[in-house]
Each structure stands twice: as structure tokens, then as C-alpha cells.
Amino acid sequence: MTTVLSTHGLFAHYGDFQALYGVDTELHQGEAVALIGANGAGKSTFLRSIMGLLPVAREMVRLNGEPVGGTATDRMVQKGVAIVPEGRRLFTGMSVEDNLRVAVDQAARVGAKGGWTLPRLHQLFPILKEKARTQVQSLSGGQQQMVAIGRALLCQPRVLLCDEISLGLAPKVIREIYAALPEIRATGTAMIVVEQDVGLARSASDRLYCMLEGRVTLTGKSADVTREQIGKAYFGAGHGVV
């Protein structure tokens, strides 16, 4: 199995505060990996470090074997890594279509090849076509999340990082959004899905990593790990009950 993205003893700091303590992970071609853990475990920091939003050493992150740690965010996107950021981070004051076209423009600028086009995205999330002219800030949370996912897909990623895409959404909407993930995976895009909801994370992934206080405390096939194992890894020793 080919490894597309891997981290090697990843350390990251916010100023003097150390957030990650030597995280080793790997993501294989076409695979979906879930990253679970409590608030403050370092999940978002992990994704931000990969995207070049935090200073990390070059050797700590590899993309297709090439050391890329600390590469500028826009260069990481060009190399085929896109992120659906926590809190969606849409371009307010711009329409749905313009938000998406920003990604189309940049992919065209750097000649990124991939299967995602606006019509294809409209098939995946039909509401985005209907709301094309609407300003993004007047959309519902679920619709905004679809724009954020669409924007990331239009960057034509080979690796897609999803940061808490279910956060603050109604269960029905969460199901709708997670139903789109298999179709995204079918294009050969590998995924890291950061998720608070352990059940959701397990069902949407092949493997999972559990983080606690900046370290990986459990890794294994999502179908094989037991609730007890996850409970221990999630809360630390002595908190074995989920």
C-alpha cells in the first residue's frame, strides 16, 4: 500500500505552549483515517501543522515521500493537500459561487488536475446550485459546511483533511454530509477526518488514531478497536468507561 501522507515525530508549539509531542501517523492511498480525541488533544493542531499553518521541521511531514513540513499553506494546496477548516472559514461577503470559484481559479492557475468541477459538485450537493448567488453568511450551518467541503474539493486534492465537519450541525444534516464522503473517496482521494463523535468517526473510516494531550494513544482498524480500548485512549488511564 502506498503511503501518501505521513508524519514523523511531529512536534508543534503555539509560542511557548507545546501542543504536539512526537506524533507518528500515516495515510495510505485512497484510505479514510479518523482522528478522534477530546477537546484540546491536538487534533486541529495536527492538521494545521500539516498545512503549514504552524512552524514545523521539514522532515516531520512527508507527502509521497517528499519532506514538506513547514511548506507555505498555498504551496501545500498546490501539492494536493486541501483542508475543510474548523469553523468552515468561508469568505463572507461573497456569494456561494464566488467562494467556490476562488478554488476553481487557483486550481486552474497552477494547472491542478482532478475530477472536481462545479457541475459535479452540484450533483453531490444540489443545494449549492440553487443557492449559487446567495451570500455565504446567510446560509444555514449545514449549507455552509457543504460550501467549505466543495471549496476544498475544487482545489483537486489527493489528500483531504476534514476538521470537525459535524460541529454544531443537526443530526440529519450530519448524516447528509457524511453520506457524501464515500463518493469523495471513490475518486481516490485519501482523507483524514477529525471528529468528536466516536461512532461517526468509526463508521466513516478504515483506520483510526486516538489522540490525548498531544500524543497518539491508540491506533488500529476502525472495525476492530473496542469501545474499552477507545475509552482508555480517549480519556487516559483510569477512565476506562465510555
Binding site: D74, V77, L90, F91, G93, M94, V102, A103, Q106, R109
Partner: protein
């Protein structure tokens, strides 16, 4: 008739202010970079234009053709060398850096051109006028207004319809999210400042044609540009144009009331605007 004349003169004066304000609308209104050296750049470009005209015996149009590309280059260098180092969510570093640049530019200009007032010879263009509906209107102010309208239209279209415009709006809305979408914000900002200072190239030629310029004149132009952008509303390109008209008309009517009251009238209208509608005519109230 006298007041109608004041209104027309005000609109024409607004055309000049719009040329200052457009670059400011782009840098301050869209990118949130406070460029205190805005007016000094106009004066610097004017003085360079006057020197070029004198040295090579060029008319206004050839000077414009030489000056605008030079202004674009100056803007690009300004962003790459100075502003990209200080740009961020905090407007204070860019304010301080450009305040320093403003003082340096004024002294540099004083050193090179001395404190004398100069103007660009218009070869009769500045004194021609045409009669419209019983009032005489200067040809030069009409050209200034037409150019200002064209520049506003072009800049607005560029922001709304082009790849560069979308990238710039995205970077202004959320610079980190823009980078996550593959935009290199610094490259986009460098192009935007190049466009903003390029527009000042037009303003510089017309300012030197219709009036005189001296090295210390910059700050006054800066104030007019700021006022126009704030009256119009941050981020609204046509807003800056309309804001310039409001400022021009206020000053022209003020002049009719009392010749000493003109500039002050503009400031008073600006202050009333700031007190009653701080988001400006076309700006959105902040959430």
C-alpha cells in the same frame, strides 16, 4: 443658477478626489492596509511627471503613458519591500511603517525638487472650457471626471469578475482561508497595491495639470482620500466614487457660502457622516 453652478463644480472637483480615493478604497477599504504615504506618493509621481515633461518636452498624454507603468512598479515594490512585512490583522504596523515612509518621502522630495510649487504645462488644455446649459465648464475637469468614472468602473469590474479580484476579496475576508484555497496572499496584495498606486499615476498627472504641487502637499490629499472612502463605505468601490462627489460638492457649496469655508465644509460633512452613519453610504453595518 449660482447654486447649480456650485453643484456642477463640486461634481467636477469630486472627479479629482475620486482619483485619489480609488487607490485608498482598494488598499484601506479592501485590504485594510492604512497607507499614510498615499498623498505623498501622488505628489512624488506628480513631481517625477513634471521633471519628465520638462526634460523631454513631453505633453500631458505622453507623461501619463510613462508615469502610470512607473506608478504600478512603485506600488509593487512598496508592497513587496515594506507592506508585506507589516500586513496582518493588526492595522497599526502598516500605519507606523507608512507614516515613516511619508516623512522620508517628503524630505526626499524637498531635497530633490526644493519647496517650490510646480505644475505640469498643459499646452492650453487647462484653460479651455465648454458651455453646457448656460454655465461654463472646464475641459480639463471634465476629462478628470470622465477618467475617474472609467477607473472606478474598471476597478469595480476587476474586483467582481476577474480571478485576481476574487482572490483579493477572498484574502481580505480571511487571509488564512485564502491560503488554504491555494492563494498566495502576498502575491495578490502586491498586485493590488500595484493597481492602487497605478491609479495614483493618473491622479498625479491631473493634480499637476489643474493645480500646483509642492513636496509638503501630500497629507492634504491623504485626508481627502480617507474622507471619501469613509463617506462612501469601506470596501465599496463605487462608494468611494460617490463619497468623493459628496466631498467635492460640500466643498464647492462651502466655497460659495464663504471662500474660507470650503475645505472646512467638506470636513464637517465628513464628521456628520461619521457620527450618523459610520459604516458609510454603501458600507454594511458591522455584525
Amino acid at each position: 443658477m449660482e447654486w447649480f453652478d456650485a453643484l456642477v463644480q463640486g461634481i467636477l472637483l469630486g472627479g479629482m478626489y475620486a482619483q485619489y480615493a480609488l487607490g485608498m478604497a482598494l488598499m484601506f477599504g479592501v485590504m485594510r492596509i492604512v497607507n499614510i504615504s498615499h498623498g505623498d506618493l501622488v505628489i512624488l509621481l506628480s513631481l517625477i511627471g513634471i521633471s519628465i515633461a520638462t526634460a523631454w518636452g513631453l505633453g500631458p498624454l505622453p507623461v501619463l503613458i510613462v508615469l502610470v507603468p512607473l506608478a504600478v512598479l512603485m506600488g509593487w515594490v512598496l508592497q513587496k519591500a515594506v507592506l508585506n512585512r507589516v500586513v496582518g490583522s493588526d492595522p497599526l504596523p502598516s500605519l507606523i511603517a507608512t507614516f515613516g515612509l511619508s516623512i522620508a518621502l517628503q524630505n526626499l522630495m524637498l531635497q530633490i525638487w526644493s519647496a517650490n510649487s510646480r505644475s505640469l504645462p498643459g499646452h492650453g488644455l487647462e484653460s479651455q472650457s465648454i458651455e453646457i446649459g448656460g454655465i461654463y465648464v472646464g475641459l480639463l475637469p471634465l476629462i478628470v471626471l470622465a477618467v475617474a468614472t472609467g477607473l472606478t468602473w474598471g476597478l469595480d469590474l476587476m474586483l467582481k469578475r476577474t480571478r485576481f479580484g476574487r482572490a483579493l476579496r477572498a484574502a481580505s475576508a480571511d487571509v488564512e482561508a485564502a491560503a488554504m484555497t491555494g492563494i498566495n496572499p502576498r502575491a495578490v496584495y502586491a498586485m493590488a497595491t500595484a493597481a492602487a498606486v497605478g491609479i495614483l499615476g493618473f491622479a498625479a498627472v491631473f493634480q499637476a495639470l489643474r493645480s500646483t504641487v509642492a513636496p509638503a502637499d501630500g497629507p492634504a490629499q491623504l485626508i481627502y482620500a480617507f474622507e471619501a472612502v469613509i463617506i462612501g463605505g469601506m470596501g465599496a468601490i463605487w462608494g468611494a466614487f460617490i463619497g468623493s462627489m459628496v466631498l467635492g460638492i460640500s466643498q464647492a457649496i462651502g466655497f460659495r457660502i464663504d471662500p474660507g469655508f470650503g475645505v472646512l465644509a467638506g470636513h464637517i460633512v465628513f464628521l456628520i457622516m461619521l457620527a450618523t452613519r459610520p459604516q458609510g453610504l454603501f458600507g454594511k453595518a458591522s455584525q
